[in-house]
Every structure is written in C-alpha cells, then in structure tokens.
C-alpha cells in the first residue's frame, strides 16, 4: 500500500514539475501509438467495410482469422518483426531495428486486427440495413464503402479508441523491436518495465499513473473533437 501512495505522490510531483525525462518518454509514447493508430485505421477500416460488403467464398474464414488475430500475443509479434528487421533478416538493409519506426510497425500489426474486427461488426450491421437502398440507387463500390464508414463513424471511433488503448499499454513488442534505448526508443511502458525490474516500484507505479492519465486525456480529447453526447444521441 505504501508503494501505491508513494507512486501517486511521485506521479503528481513528476507532472507538476514537468520532469524533462517524463515529458520526453510520454511524448514518445503518444507519438508512436498515435502514429500506429492512424496507419492502422487507414488499413483496418476500409478492409472491414469491404469485408462487410463483398460476398466471397472465404469470407467467413477471413473473419474468423481476423478475430483470432485480435488475441495475438504482442511479444510474439515483436519477435516476428525483429526477425524481419534484423540485420541478418530480409529487411535488415533498411536499418529500422531499434528505431521508433520499428515500434510503430509492430504496434500497427497488433492493432489492425482489433480495429478491423470491431469495425467489421458494426459495418456489417449497418450494411444489413442499407443494403437494399444502396443497391437500388446504383451506388458504386467506393461510394458504398464511403457511406458505410461515414455513417458508422461513432462505432468506428470506439474501434479506434480500443486500438489506442491496446497500443498505449503495450510493452512486449516494442521492448523487443525498440530495445528500450534511453533517449531513443524508451517509452512509458518500457520504462515501467525497467523500473519494476530494478525494484523501483514507487517510480514504476508513478509512471503507470501518468500513463493512465495520458490515455484518459486522449480519450476525452477525441470525444471532445467529435462532439459526442451533444444532441443526446450518441
């Protein structure tokens, strides 16, 4: 219990004094996860829409695979990306290992299935409603996708925020592909792991509280931006 209170007060102190190191790793955490999120959404959402609209033979299998991939252990993804990006590996020449870019890549792989799965469910329900009308109106495939994505935007936002949550709290993959290098690839979660390993529980907890606060701030900001809960209709 002592650690918890110490952690809280340390967190408070770190934030109030805008501790330089804390700011650096917090900003890096945000940058990496938000970048991964944007890229993942650009891939996952149109994919989910297409999956909802098109009927093809292996659709059910693809959806099942997507749902399964949601549970992929991040550390496994990290290892696979490491093997790809390692100097001895196929993409080694790119020199991306132990850089934030590698971390963004790994996080993207982790959150795409999550966003796609959640988005797909809502888009499928919506398509069920819209199907007859849009076909009757002779709307093009691209327009169908665009209409679905726009009208389902609230549900898509939930999917995106779920992806953000998964990413900001993730540590296994980015530890391996980022290397937790001080000033370069250290972020909140890897710093927490490091401090925990050193037995510095209070500091680790403090960083944890900062992480939670950060995630909350982002969620609130996004809700504010999208003006949800305005007309009482979510």
């Amino acid at each position: 219990m002592v650690d918890l209170w110490q952690g809280l007060s340390q967190a408070f102190w770190l934030v109030i004094t805008a501790d330089a190191e804390l700011v650096e790793i917090a900003m890096r955490s945000l940058r990496i996860t938000l970048s991964a999120l944007v890229l993942a959404c650009l891939i996952a959402m149109p994919l989910a829409a297409l999956l909802a609209i098109r009927r093809f033979r292996f659709r059910r299998t693809v959806i099942a695979v997507l749902n399964t991939l949601m549970g992929l252990p991040p550390v496994v993804v990290g290892l696979m990306v490491y093997v790809l990006l390692s100097r001895s590996g196929p993409l080694g020449a790119l020199g991306l290992l132990f850089t934030p870019t590698a971390m963004i890549m790994a996080q993207m792989i982790i959150i795409v299935p999550l966003i796609a799965s959640i988005a797909h469910q809502s888009l499928r329900d919506l398509w069920h409603d819209y199907h007859d009308l849009l076909i009757s109106m002779n709307v093009s495939q691209t327009q169908k996708v665009a209409t679905l994505l726009w009208d389902a935007r609230r549900a898509l936002l939930t999917a995106a925020l779920a992806g953000f949550g998964r990413g900001i709290g993730e540590v296994g993959a980015i530890m391996i592909v980022g290397g937790n290098i001080d000033n370069v690839t250290r972020v909140l979660t890897t710093a927490i792991a490091l401090e925990t390993g050193k037995g510095q529980f209070a500091l680790a907890l403090a960083l944890g509280f900062v992480l939670i606060a950060l995630a909350l701030a982002v969620n609130l900001a996004i809700h504010g931006l999208s003006r949800t809960e305005r007309d009482g209709r979510w």
Binding site: L34, G179, N180, G199
Partner: protein, 268 residues
C-alpha cells in the same frame, strides 16, 4: 479547440525528430546497467569522443544473439566461456577485458541455511542445498546464471527440487522474486546495492575469489556484418581501456562502496 489539438499533435511529431551525432549501438547486460555505471560513462564518452552510445540492456544470451545477428556494433558481457565461443565462431573479432566486480550471496536476514559462516562459495551452496532453503536462480542463460551454474557444479551439487526457483528474468526481476519469496540468490554486488526493494534480504556471503566477475568488450565482426561501424567500435575500445575510463570506473561508488576494479591490459 480543434486547431489546438491538431497543433499539439503536430508538435509531438516534430519534437520526436532527433538529430544524430556519431552513433553506435552496444548490447550490455542488465547487471552492468543496473549498477548505474553507464550513467557515469556515457556522458564522459559523449564529451571525449563526441560519440553517442545507444545501450540495449538485455540478458547475456540476448546480447550474444544480437551480436551474432549484427544488430549491434559491440557487446559488453561477463561470461568468459560464451565470449570465447563467440570469438571462436567468428562473430566477434576479439575479446578485451575491461573491469571486474564480484558476485555476492543474498538471503533472508535470518539466514536459515547459515551461509554467513561458510568457508567458501561452494560451502555456501552446499549448505543451502542441504537445508533446502528457497533459492532463486536467474535461469536465463545470462552471465550471472552461467556463473551460478558453474558454482553449483564446483560444489558438486545438482540443484533440483521445489526450493530451487529458476525465474528466467533479469537481475532486478530475479531480486524482486527473491524478495517476495524471502529466498537466497546470487547477485552481482552493484545490482544488489542499487536494488530498491530489499525487504528482509541481506548480504550474507562474499569475498571468495571464485566469485569475481570479469566484464569484457567484444566488437562484432565487420567481415561478417559490413555495416558495423568498426571505426567507432575501435574508438570506444580505446577509451574504455584508457586513463579516463580507469579513473571513472575505479572511483564509482554506491553508498561509499566501490564496485568495479579496472583491469584492462594490453590488447590481446
């Protein structure tokens, strides 16, 4: 409001762009990092050589693997047998000794196995095994782990049983577990001194010469991995075996205790 948030996001992105000086990557063991010595050495290296050394803090096994793959330019570990093999197999060019510290036995302050009166390291381990007192092992193929295994072998004991816990983790994490289990554990002195969660644990046995722990610097073989920055690696080696390093290493203390002894000789 919207604009402010977008600006903030943009600022975050820009702030992330780092300027690179000369940069090299080195894999070091968790025990080396936990000692805190790197925080003294790195700024000095930056100052003297204008060289930024990026440290990847991993277990010895992983450090060797990274060296083999060519993902780092050099490694600093403490496991002579593994290091010799590394060089013999052609992954490293040579092995250069830098400094040594020592290992110590940590355990519950009540000392149920009575190792505080042991004659040497082997005797300590025999007592622990005999009393079947809880013992935590690194279990991660690290330098510390290999040292521990060699000590068991020298003591003629095969550690088996519920009392022997192999955790498969770094020094800090293993110490945490020992703290939680109130168990014995072999640790390097530096990690122990820096450890923040001592609970009921205490330093019970040390001083046996067999517990000395040699750190060595191994450049990754540039013939195998041409993009390794051999010139920077050589510069660093020169510094690590030079006067400034000797002074910093020998004078590094935690709570008034020196930890490392500089012993770099001529290049092999």
């Amino acid at each position: 409001m919207k604009q402010k948030l977008i600006l903030a996001f943009g600022a975050i992105c820009i702030a992330g762009m780092a300027q690179a000086a000369e940069v090299m990557r080195m894999a070091v063991t968790t025990s080396f990092h936990n000692s805190g010595l790197s925080e003294v050495l790195l700024p000095a290296i930056q100052e003297d050589l204008d060289l930024e050394v990026q440290l990847l803090v991993v277990g010895t096994g992983q450090a060797l693997k990274l060296g083999q793959a060519g993902d780092v330019d050099a490694i600093l570990v403490h496991s002579k047998a593994a290091e010799d093999a590394f060089v013999a197999e052609g992954y490293g060019t040579h092995r250069r000794e830098i400094m040594y510290n020592d290992f110590v036995f940590i355990g519950p302050s009540g000392d149920p196995a009575g190792i505080a009166d042991a004659s040497d390291a082997a005797d300590s381990l025999q007592r622990i095994a005999g009393a079947e007192s809880a013992f935590v092992s690194r279990g991660d193929d690290s330098g510390t782990h290999k040292k521990e295994l060699s000590l068991w072998a020298a003591a003629g004991v095969d550690p088996q049983g519920a009392w022997y816990n192999a955790v498969g983790a770094g020094m800090g994490a293993a110490l945490n577990t020992a703290s939680g289990l109130n168990a014995y554990i072999l640790s390097d002195r530096a990690s122990w001194l820096n450890f923040g969660n001592k609970a009921d644990l205490a330093l019970l046995f040390s001083g046996d010469p067999v517990l000395f722990n040699q750190y060595a610097y191994l450049p990754v073989n540039p013939e195998l991995h041409p993009y390794v920055q051999a010139d920077l690696v050589e510069k660093l080696e020169g510094w690590l075996t030079g006067e400034r390093a000797k002074e910093l290493i020998n004078s590094y203390t935690i709570d008034g205790e020196t930890l490392f002894v500089f012993n770099a000789g001529e290049a092999e």
